[in-house]
């Protein structure tokens, strides 16, 4: 068997030596933090215009992650490119000739890229939180409050899982363009729209992003959202199942198809 530390070192070299890594991860950080802070400031300024129900369920923690909806797209691009460029460049044949044990190759790649996405996700999450709380002032909360630390760490886990999910999908589809063409509209439009449509939302809340984002809420049914049949960890668990399914699917495709 190939040496696992050697494969991890190799995958780390691959990730750090392409510019797409830097710009996707910086975008994820900047977009999430900037949009979260800006929306926090906006809601704070217009707090009195919010409906009574929204005021009652105002969740300063959840509000600080408002940027995730856009920032996660950069994480999707990161995840897709990490796997997809192996195929678009033809590098996959060189890579598999060097590491013919396909499980070691794919899981090594996902481990390194997933860990990096997770670290950037956590950093994004904490910075988003602190900046937003600073902007919210008296309406804000702090890490010591009940469930807040869970939500902030959860926000980082969410970003990491979105990236890993995208890696699994790209491994299944073996193409960056196809994967982005499906994942971007799905997370940006389809999932968001279906989650707002009366009948469809009973299904949409089991989508990875809808279920996973539950972890970022501290106040139950935050911002007057619909009650979900699962808790914060249950939601993240559902998302994790999606991730496992995508990665497993990607592995089966890699294992059985010709490179």
């Amino acid at each position: 068997m190939a040496s696992v530390p050697a494969v991890l070192t190799s995958e780390w070299t691959k990730i750090r030596s392409v510019s797409s890594t830097t710009w996707t991860l910086i975008s994820a950080f900047v977009v999430t933090v900037a949009m979260g802070t800006a929306l926090s400031a906006l809601l704070n300024a217009q707090f009195n215009d919010l409906s009574e129900a929204e005021q009652a369920t105002f969740d300063p923690t959840f509000v600080s992650f408002s940027g995730t909806v856009l920032g996660q797209l950069a994480m999707v691009v990161f995840g897709v490119l990490v796997v997809g460029t192996e195929y678009s460049s033809g590098m996959i044949r060189t890579s598999l000739a060097a590491v013919p044990q396909r499980a070691t190759f794919l899981f090594g790649k996902i481990t390194v890229a997933g860990a990096l996405a997770l670290i950037v996700g956590l950093l994004t999450s904490f910075v988003s939180f602190f900046l937003s709380q600073a902007v919210l002032g008296d309406r804000g909360t702090d890490l010591g409050a009940e469930n807040v630390l869970r939500a902030v760490v959860g926000g980082g886990l969410y970003m990491g899982l979105i990236a890993i999910f995208s890696m699994g999908v790209a491994a299944m589809l073996r193409s960056s363009m196809l994967s982005l063409g499906i994942l971007m509209p799905f997370f940006f439009l389809v999932s968001q729209i279906l989650a707002a449509v009366p009948v469809a939302k009973t299904v949409a809340r089991y989508f990875p992003d809808q279920a996973g984002s539950k972890i970022m809420q501290v106040v139950p049914d935050a911002m007057n959202s619909d009650p979900a049949p699962y808790g914060p960890w249950g939601g993240l668990g559902i998302m994790a199942l999606w991730v496992v399914a995508a990665v497993l699917g990607g592995f089966l495709v890699l294992k059985n198809r010709d490179a």
Binding site: E11, S17, M91, T94, N256
Partner: protein
Amino acid sequence: MIEVERLTKRFGRKVAVDQLSFQVRPGIVTGFLGPNGAGKSTTMRMMLDLDNPTSGSVRIDGRHYRELSEPLKYIGALLDAKAMHGGRSAYNNLLCLAQSNRIPRGRVDEVLDMVGLAAVAKKKSKGFSLGMGQRLGIASALLGDPEILMFDEPVNGLDPEGIHWIRNLMKALASEGRTIFVSSHLMSEMALTADHLIVIGQGRLLADTSMAAFIQENSRSYTRLRSPQWERLRDVLHQEGYTAVETAGGVLEIDGASTEELGELAARHQLVLHELSSQRASLEEAFMQMTAGSVEYHAHSERDPGAEPPPPPGAGWGENWNAPGSTDGKGA
């Protein structure tokens, strides 16, 4: 030693590689020859475990490729010059490969120097010309200092200087006792580099022979005579028991006779000769004859490449092609 045994690959109904068995012996250059689409690249990909064979197996020193823990130290392969990430520098493309097989970092600089890319090591490989890409691919093959090297069409698209360089490199590697397996669709290229020859056509083995034996069997040598008195010359040759073949413009071709004896014969009969030369049919012609029945893509031909034996033009397109109950399966 690479042992290929009854290797078969089907893509749907099309058989790309058909019960192929051969061995690549250590210490020599083995040429892998076949027309375009004969299954050379597919076979090489299966040797590296990139494509899964439909049946059959490939063993490298008795083991499957997937069982090799650090395969770059066993086999180096150049399959596709473009098989690198264009956004990564040449150095980093090689470094990540080296690291995966625990090859020391210093070796990256060594191979870059060896292929003449040291000056552009930090440049992104997408800016490379075809020749530079080929050199980078060869550098990656040499990375693990392997005993076995595989090159798929290494001279394709190279300029004469690049072709010359690759030829000398292969000879140098072979002289160090390494096993070289190199594919080509050009017989002339093989004749210059290979010691042993494996010829395939439509995925089937056509020949497995030493280069010397192939040349001896396939290169017909004859003497060419041109004379203004060619009719008399023909009669004289006939009387002396030579078989002369007439070709256009009064040229005679004689098998199995030396230029000396024919020249002296003409002198004895006081015949004027305008030409007396020894000719050799090219190996390219021999190769084309051998693979004539199995060329995959003829220009201006539309026959079904999977059909076997090749049907005459128009077969399968007779008036009954759409008749109900047709059972030949064509067009299914």
